[in-house]
Amino acid sequence: MIPAQFDYVRPTTVEEALQALRDGGDDAKLLAGGQSLLPVLRLRMADPSLIIDLGGIPELRGVREDGNEVVVGAMTSHHDVTRDDILRQHVALIQEATKTVADPQVRHRGTLGGALAHADPAGDLAAPALALEAKFVIAGANGTRTVAAADFFEDYFATAIGEGELLTEIRFPKYTGWGARYEKFNRVAQAWSIVAVAATIKVDGGTISDARIGLTNMAGTPVRATAVESALVGQSATEDNVRKAAQAAAEGTSPTADADAGTDYREHLARVLTGRAVLAAAG
């Protein structure tokens, strides 16, 4: 199928994009990489009257360091994220998770900001962003505001980005020297995650000194496995200790049941994948 008719604009600055959003009202939709939006339009699950293509705004692309943070422009492609040296050194977890997103063609077009703003609970980048305590910079009519990851994801496909606003950058604290692993369980190549676990771990002399763990698709929003994080800190990174701590991975989650998995099975996966992710990240 082909999409319903819409008007199309391609602004070249954030200011122009915000103006287009104001002019377009409720019925305008932002187009980032289009790898979720275009299938939705094709299937006529949405029929916006105006598409605002963010692809022509250079200031929204790229990765840079800013003091203790790494700043990623919202329109930076998954492909560019997976190859960036700054991210490899300081925010390895987002890179590990991004490598598993969909397939190479989709990673060439899809963007970090687009995926996070779409907020699909089975998407792979929200859980690492939450675990990494990323900050989201949102531009609107009254300038920019910054939202913590814990407040950004509100519900299924719902974020703190308000009407007339757009996500411009994602700011990650540096996790230099931390190990990272994204363990994803899906049915076939390029399928959505049934459950996935994002873990980044700091090990000092064989002892886990800090841990951040986020769960994908264990609720309508990404969930932080705080009970596992606290259980890990101070432990030596042995298989036994990690598996024991990972038993708490499903605490505080509310997974759905669907054709792929029931809630019990998702909870089981969360525990198993957390163990694997932490061991790999600590290795």
Partner: protein, 174 residues
């Protein structure tokens, strides 16, 4: 309507298109480049894969207007002076197809993969073509073909179609 100017397989085309027109529709219905096929409605199958500014994309998931100012390379732009591209030849030599429907996308994605990784392992080939579905072959001969092409393309035999002679074609065959 939006005015777009694109270079497709070395020729420049200018056309007015509806913003909702998909790149794959533009290629097939306006330019008659039916070598690029549509295999699904869900962005899964990869049969419509083309290169957009040198990177593989699913042309069902790109609007024609987004290709404005860009260079597109399709399966139809690979042959040079009657010679198949080494990846096309390797698919032929290794019988890497049965019905052939996935082949244009498989070949375009394989060329992208080899540009990135000229000597992929079997596992890397399988990962590299994970966005392309084949329902006939079980992938065995496809993987063999990509690895065969890799050995034959060494060293430095990257696709050169993007560098082809350009001339403007008004109306784009509409």
């Amino acid at each position: 309507m939006a005015r777009i100017r694109t270079t497709v397989d070395g020729l420049v085309y200018e056309d007015d298109v509806e913003p909702r027109m998909l790149l794959v529709q533009y290629l097939r219905e306006r330019l008659g480049k039916t070598g690029t096929v549509i295999g699904c409605d869900t962005s899964n199958c990869g049969a419509c894969t083309v290169h957009l500014d040198g990177m593989s994309v699913k042309s069902c998931s790109v609007l024609a207007v987004q290709a404005n100012g860009a260079e597109v390379l399709t399966i139809e732009g690979l042959e040079r002076d009657g010679q198949l591209h080494p990846v096309q030849q390797a698919f032929h030599d290794n019988h890497a197809l049965q019905c052939g429907y996935c082949t244009p996308g498989m070949i375009m994605q394989s060329i992208d993969l080899l540009g990135d990784n000229p000597d992929p392992t079997e596992h890397e080939v399988r990962e590299g073509i994970e966005g392309n579905l084949c329902r006939c072959t079980g992938y065995q001969n496809i993987v063999r073909a990509v690895q065969d092409a890799a050995t034959k393309m060494k060293p430095g035999a990257a696709p050169t179609a993007e560098a082809g002679a350009k001339q403007t074609v008004a109306g784009g065959g509409a």
